[in-house]
């Protein structure tokens, strides 16, 4: 889900949480204490890249998807589509 929030454009941690909350209609409210270690982990794994960017008079760490991150997102999305379709077919 974090990767998906960065698909269109890069964002800093606060904005990622906002996008996640808005897109899910307030269903997914990820705790900050979970988000930042996850961002660092994804970056260490080569799925995200980050850089400092000036904004509102202060430095912000902005994350963007790498090529590997996009490939991973596409794969996860495909898995999810298959899985959710199967669940839907069973419970509908």
């Amino acid at each position: 889900m974090i990767l998906a929030t960065l698909e269109q454009e890069p964002a800093h941690g606060y904005l990622i949480l906002e996008r996640l909350r808005e897109r899910s209609g307030d269903v997914f409210v990820l705790a900050e204490g979970t988000l930042y270690p996850a961002l660092h982990r994804l970056e260490r794994g080569g799925l995200l890249a980050s850089a400092w960017s000036p904004g509102d008079g202060r430095r912000r760490r902005v994350y963007r998807l790498t090529r590997r991150g996009r490939a991973e997102l596409a794969e996860r999305r495909s898995e999810w589509t298959r899985f959710s379709g199967a669940v839907q077919a069973v419970v509908a």
Binding site: H12, G13, Y14, A31, E32, G33, T34, Y36, P37, H40, R41, R44, R58, R59, R60, R61
Partner: protein
């Protein structure tokens, strides 16, 4: 004390320093400026610092094991060429220092290979898991460190041996040994750096250490570890004996095979608990 100050202290406590620490603090500080109420959702500073250290520690420990094995592989190639060059001449007449070096040359690479391979196996087995427990990281670090130490001892012994017997072997072999083993020593020392970096991180993550039976998926032997040790020692001894037979020297091969098996059992007794080969 503010949340960020407290986090700064906790990050140091778990071994996160320098640029990484500054980055985390800047990100948290920026987030709290945007949303001051987020402090409670960050969780206690100690837990947040521990989460960062657990992730980083897992990555660094795995990386250290893989880099160590890579360096040992290069050292192993040097060793194979040099050892083949020294031949199978009797070493009974070697000077005392050369005899001691030869003993290390025979024993230490086996320890390096077993410890390094077990470290790599643990990395491979746990590759799908997000975070390693503290106990598991300790096992990984012990295997990596012992492999590097034994590898360095082997290369140092090769250097000593080449110098001690330089008058009785060809000049090119002595030169190659000095250059190859020297370069391998440098590579192994460089491989210590990631191991030290991994050791600096000290997250507290509960969980079992696991043993060699987890690594090899041989859970049935856990209750009878010495039976497993006898099996491995027997196979190693048999392998050496067969090599002796292939080399048209079955008696010598048999004697070497017995020593090999005894060395395996000795290693299991001495290092078994340290390397988590048995509990």
């Amino acid at each position: 004390m503010s949340y960020v100050d407290e986090l700064a202290r906790e990050l140091v406590a778990v071994g996160i320093r320098g640029g990484q620490r500054e980055r985390i603090l800047a990100e948290v500080d920026d987030h709290l400026r945007s949303d001051p109420e987020a402090e409670s959702r960050f969780g206690p500073p100690r837990e947040l610092a521990n989460a960062f250290a657990a992730d980083a520690g897992t990555t660094e420990s795995r990386r250290a094991a893989v880099i160590a094995f890579g360096a040992l592989a290069v050292a192993g190639i040097v060793y194979a060429i040099v050892f083949a060059g020294f031949g199978r001449a009797s070493h009974l007449s070697d000077p005392p220092l050369a005899s001691l070096a030869f003993f290390v040359i025979v024993l230490a690479p086996q320890i390096a290979f077993v410890a390094g391979a077990l470290a790599l196996l643990r990395v491979w087995r746990g590759r799908e898991r997000g975070v390693l427990s503290s106990a598991e990281r300790t096992v990984l670090a012990r295997r990596t460190n012992l492999a590097l130490g034994a590898g360095l001892a082997t290369m140092a012994a090769l250097l000593v041996y080449a110098v001690e017997i330089r008058s009785s072997v060809s000049g090119w072999l002595v030169a190659f040994t000095l250059a190859g083993a020297g370069a391998a020593c440098v590579l192994l020392v460089v491989a210590i750096v990631p191991a030290v970096r991994a050791a600096r991180l000290r997250p507290q993550i509960a969980g079992p250490a696991g043993d060699v039976f987890d690594d090899l998926r041989l859970i049935g032997y856990r209750a009878r570890p010495w039976r497993f040790a006898l099996l491995v020692a027997g196979l190693a001894g048999l392998g050496v004996w067969l090599a002796g037979i292939a080399g048209a020297d079955p008696i010598d091969g048999f004697i070497r095979g017995v020593f090999e098996a005894l060395a395996c059992l000795g290693g299991f007794a001495l290092l078994g608990r340290y390397l988590s080969l048995r509990s």
